[in-house]
Amino acid sequence: MGKPEPMPSRPTNTPERSPAQSGAKPLLEVSDLRVSYGAVTAIRGVSLSVAAGEVVALLGANGAGKSTMLRTISGLSRPRSGRISLGGEAIHRLPPARIVRLGIAHCPEGRRVFGSLSVAENLRLGAAARAERSGMAEDRERIYAMFPILRERMTQSAGTLSGGEQQMLALGRALMARPKVLLLDEPSLGLAPLLVQQIFRTLAELKAQGVTMLLVEQNINLALALADRAYVLRTGEVSLAGSAAELQADYEKVAAAYLGARP
């Protein structure tokens, strides 16, 4: 692994730990959000917040609305009602490109790298929305230092990479935007255990550097080990919320929240 160089991230005044609990103003705030696809309501009045420097996990069974939440924050889905704000500014009516520009990068489920483009071109497009083009070469170098295999495969088309390498590229592409908040959708999905470990080690490094993250993850242990706080979603509603330590200590409560019993 690379040395712990500072990652491309806009300077966020990172307080010590768990700023949400110390009452700091949240960087990303979702309040009473409702999202529906036609007649199906995917999210029913969810509120959550992520403070600067914080890692928040979003847990829940398939279909609980986790991905929809990330898609709505990114502007790919429109909320029926509610509000999403970044640093106090409402973003839930903005097109995706504006939201990226304001500082939210989304590393999507299934990686979604551009398979016909090279690794270097994928990273370049990650920075396409950036207002200031300076520092791009340095950011790319840091990502190559994080994932040396990407440097080796720089000119190869992304479609020829293994699943793990594609996940690294998707993460690198999102970081190239210098996000204030990084949205991660199932970064461990379909990867071999060793690669999952590597990805999560990298995420831990990013966290140490103060990168703010909202993480959707099926693997509860991994997610709670990384996160400061977590929300459990069930059929579009928050069924449990608390600090990661609390939830780790009480798995029965988490399991119950997955299955539906209210705490």
Partner: protein, 300 residues
């Protein structure tokens, strides 16, 4: 007759015809790649380019500038059509998009008839373009237009190749063609990409129209129809949505048609189009993704 020269001439003919098909097919494929829309109005940009050149030439600015202007008018027309007709129905089911593009075709062609009547107009060429190089006592002829077609297409393709591999916009266009959702997620301005794609595609069709008119000597409201159908065949053979595929398909189709006309018995020539469309059916049946486009693979 010198067989070597004959073959050389036919190769040049094949490359020239293939260039025209490629110019039109690339635009079709670009637009399909990004919008998943078979743009039947694409051929009409050839007409717009042809008539635009004709009108500008009448003002006396010289053929070269008139052609540049005609191509620019074709590109502009494509951008306007996108804004006015296609953007409002973007994301609709394929049938809606298809019918919209038919409607645009009817409107543009009837505008063509209103302004220029339904009869074909002479497309005058300056003397420097009307040249032909003759060898072996006139048995072998290379026309200046053929050579110009090959050269201009090569220049246009080189420019496009640079654009889609070296610029953010060009890379973004390829990215959007591959995965529109992910293109949104990395913050690409998709509207801008689509406008640029229409400008390039329609400009290429405009250039194709000028060259087609120069080859045939006439412009008419329906001049884009046959090349459009051929371009569809070329784009599908190569892999609909792939720029490289459209290029390959265009040249393969040009080569095939010249092969049929030049090297098969004369009785076969009238069936040229039938053979081409039989090839299309064969591709649709046995290799619907075309030569270059891979089926999307999912890696775990």
């Amino acid at each position: 007759m010198n067989l070597g020269l004959y073959i050389t001439q036919q190769v040049i003919n094949a490359i020239a015809l293939g260039s025209l098909y490629a110019l039109v097919a690339i635009g079709l494929s670009m637009i399909f790649g990004i919008l998943r829309m078979a743009n039947f109005a694409h051929g009409d940009m050839m007409m717009v380019g042809g008539f635009g050149t004709l009108v500008l030439q009448a003002t006396g600015i010289g053929f070269g500038w008139a052609a540049v202007g005609g191509i620019a008018i074709g590109a502009l027309c494509g951008v306007i059509v996108e804004r006015v007709a296609y953007r409002p129905v973007r994301g609709s089911p394929e049938v809606t998009l298809l019918l919209t593009s038919f409607a645009v075709t009817y409107i543009l062609e009837n505008l063509g008839i209103l302004i220029f009547t339904s009869s074909a107009h002479n497309f005058p060429l300056p003397d420097w373009m009307d040249n032909a190089f003759q060898f072996s006592d006139g048995q072998i002829t290379f026309t200046q237009i053929n050579i110009l077609t090959v050269v201009l297409t090569a220049v246009a393709l080189a420019g496009l190749g640079w654009f889609v591999t070296r610029t953010d916009l060009g890379l973004g266009m390829r990215a959007a063609a591959e995965d529109m959702g992910a293109a949104h997620l990395v913050g690409l301005d998709v509207n801008r990409l689509i406008i640029v794609a229409f400008a390039i595609a329609s400009g290429f069709a405009g250039l194709g129209g000028v060259l087609w008119a120069a080859q045939s000597g006439v412009v008419s409201y329906s001049m884009g129809f046959t090349p459009l159908l051929k371009a569809f065949v070329a784009a599908i053979i190569g892999g609909f949505g792939s720029i490289a595929g459209a290029l390959l398909g265009g040249y393969l189709l040009g080569a095939l048609e010249i092969l049929i006309v030049a090297f098969l018995p004369a009785e076969v020539s009238p069936y040229r189009d039938a053979i081409v469309f039989a090839l299309l059916i064969a591709f649709l049946l046995f290799r619907p993704n075309g030569l270059l486009k891979r089926a999307q693979e999912v890696k775990l």
